[in-house]
């Protein structure tokens, strides 16, 4: 079954406007795949549409999210406290197909795009080389250390780790597949790098969503075989399928 409502175990600030939310289910839920997301909403009517937020980690009956406070929805969500209820519909979307991720894998995250990659890295079982790109402030890199083969931190201003952009530090030819989530500019640069070296590239795309369920057709992604829905057919796409 898909869940509708959950209890909050924790909702706390990680750093600046980055928050961590942990929710608990009291009934059995479908197995959660890395790359899937939930539609989150407060139970009051302080905003209308639920917000898509990726699974950052999942255990038997809890799910963790890592989110950045942006506008009205996330501002309301970050005010929720322990023991309160939240509307959490999921898990949704296709997620990453672990069977396709064999051999040496690079996992590349930019900014809050690192959120879904932690659970993926965990599922890849200490095999992945993780590259995390930040503007300046670094967060959550230590969590990745637990599950990755290696973690490379890159900041634009060089205040921590290496200086520059993640894309400056990946040797595509070393990998069988590259998985990425973050700003589109970054993801397309990575996809170009992969293409040049004939490496598969999987990216998790963001689109404005109304339903998150595949019903409204609001979240179109143009692909070589026609329009796809980011929420149902994605959010993970093989870059060579895309027309963007």
């Amino acid at each position: 079954m898909k869940t509708l409502k959950s209890k909050i175990l924790l909702n706390e600030k990680v750093l600046n406007n980055i928050y961590k939310l942990v929710i608990e289910f009291n009934s059995e839920i479908d197995e959660i795949k890395p790359g899937q997301f939930f539609m989150l909403k407060t139970l009051d009517n302080s905003f209308l549409l639920p917000r898509p937020i990726s699974v950052n980690d999942a255990n038997e009956n809890t799910v963790t999210f890592l989110y950045r406070v942006e506008g009205i929805g996330t501002t309301q969500i970050c005010k929720l406290r322990e023991k309160e209820e939240i509307q959490a519909v999921g898990s949704l979307g296709n997620g990453f197909n672990l069977n396709e991720l064999n051999g040496k894998i690079a996992v590349v995250g930019g900014g809050i795009g690192i959120a879904p990659l932690l659970y993926l890295t965990k599922k890849l079982g200490n095999n992945a080389d993780v590259y995390l790109g930040y503007k300046d402030c670094v967060y959550y890199n230590e969590e990745f250390e637990k599950y990755a083969n290696s973690v490379t931190v890159i900041t634009e201003d060089g205040s921590s780790g290496k200086k520059g952009y993640v894309t400056d530090y990946i040797n595509y030819e070393n990998y069988d597949a590259v998985v990425t989530c973050g700003p589109e500019i970054m993801m397309f640069k990575i996809s170009d790098g992969c293409k040049a070296k004939n490496v598969s590239c999987y990216m998790s795309l963001e689109r404005r969503m109304a339903c998150g369920l595949g019903a409204c057709l609001g979240c179109t992604v143009e692909t070589k075989i026609g329009n796809k829905r980011a929420c149902k057919d994605g959010p993970v796409f093989l870059s060579e399928e895309l027309l963007i």
Binding site: L48, L49, A210, T220
Partner: protein, 300 residues
Amino acid sequence: MADLKVKAMGMQFKNPILTASGTFGFGEEFSEFYDLSLLGGICSKGLTLNSKPGNTGIRVWETPMGLINSIGLQNPGVDRFITEELPKMKSYKTKVIANLGGNTEQEYLTGIEKLNNTDVDLIELNISCPNVKCGGMAFGIKSEVAFEIVSKVKSACQKPLMVKLSPNAENIAEMAVACEEAGADSISLINTIKAMAIDIKKRKAVFDNVYAGLSGPCVKPVALRMVHEVCKAVKVPVCGLGGIMSAEDAIEFIMAGATLIQIGTGNFIKPNIAIDIINGIEEFMDKNNIKTLDEIRGII
């Protein structure tokens, strides 16, 4: 025990709650949340004779208690609907309503002929989509134009015909009367209200088409007023919709005269909202000792 059954257009609906076109796909996505046979009926995504890819650019945009959409009738076309989607929809054991849009008279008529030969229960004629360039809503602004197209469709149509009106019509009551005179078996309203949004940072309209359609709780008071006006003007049953999010909202529409109700944007806010609304109406009836909806329908 309250009885929610509704008789309309020679059919019996289990209850007055239908899900609105374009907000429920063809039902499948919601079957993961509840048993669709609990619904009064399901309206299909807006169909056109040939498939449509829909609009480019941003398609959904949130406003305070509203949603603006510019989907542009993306759909698989009538033929693929009949072969791929309709059999699944029929398996849900609820009334299946095919919502049909078009750009030309011929498109509507050919679409109707194809749907005549299926086991669709009801056809909802969409003359009110603001999101396609020519046609769609063009038929739904002037009563004379609507009369023409509805008359022609009605004479070709072997199913009960519900005509879906646009709130952008010049005069909503006159429009409803024109459709009734042209042979509509029922009227549904409202479709979305023509709206726009501007991205001030980019200094650009949000939508590639500039204008798009507004729905959700913010349109409810307008929708309710229009449903009330139409119910006073026509004898055929009226299906009311626009911003309905709760049983209380639905009861307001019934008191304004609506026989059937559709839930649109609400399905996005909470996937099982339609079931909450059905249960809420039943509770309200029980609490207030109302046996059938006829007792409260059109009392305002």
